[in-house]
Symmetry: C2
Subunit: 125 residues, 2 copies
DNA sequence: CTAACTGCAAAGTTTTTGCAATTGC
DNA sequence: GCAATTGCAAAAACTTTGCAGTTAG
């Protein structure tokens, strides 16, 4: 068994995939596969749900879209803790606060500094 | 149709539920329902997958556990953006930075201030 | 006692996949 | 042309639910 980096098949365009991406880019909600399917059928009445799933997976693998996930499906379970994945709603439920906004910062090295092995932010701590 | 706050049934203990909670509290991974089921069968060979699901939902409703969620099940899709759910790894992939740590803040009203309708933090903006 | 809980199996929901036909390059 | 893509339908994967029997309080 060999790993061949040339195995990746080349992607052709298709009206179905274009339609799905257009739908995703023109909505503010985080639609489900089924919502996308119903939406796409207005343009392409014969599109199938299987095609929607195949294209969503393809677009995800390409990095063009992100797959989010809510409380259904293959779920994993954990005892409570505040993590990066905590949502404002979860924080509200935990604290009784009414959350208005949040701020998320990532601190690290830029690509140049990684190469120079500098740690410029450490002196600020 | 009336909403009766006394409708909530009272919870009895059960060996099955105790076992599930014990498993969750003694592992560092985020197990799937099926992993929990297989794990629980070592103690209770006759436990059923349905019981595992019922108890996980019950414990979630009680707030004793959190349901997490990875790339399967009822998924929702979105075009890329940095959101609360972005992980350090995702940020690294997007930016080329090497992330060392992050900071997450939630800003809002405490329970008392909600009642007094004060917005003390607004003057700081 | 009896309401909550259980195991089992069937049903429900969401996603993937096999296949023959179609389409983009 | 030929590989990528599609529609369709069947299968797979995951979760919920109905029911009759069991159990905790």
């Amino acid at each position: 068994m060999e790993l061949n980096t040339h195995d990746q098949k080349k992607i052709k365009s298709s009206r179905q995939r274009d339609c799905i991406l257009r739908i995703l880019r023109s909505t503010k909600i985080h639609p489900t596969a089924d919502w996308i399917y119903e939406s796409a059928r207005k343009d392409l009445p014969n599109i199938s749900l299987g095609t929607v799933y195949r294209n969503l997976n393809l677009l995800r693998d390409e990095g063009k879209i992100k797959e989010l996930c809510y409380g259904k499906g293959i779920s994993r379970y954990d005892v409570p803790h505040i993590s990066l994945r905590a949502s404002s709603i979860e924080v509200e439920e935990m604290t009784g606060f009414r959350i208005h906004y949040h701020r998320l910062e990532f601190i690290g090295l830029c690509p140049d500094c990684i190469n120079r092995s500098e740690i410029p932010w450490r002196s600020q701590l």
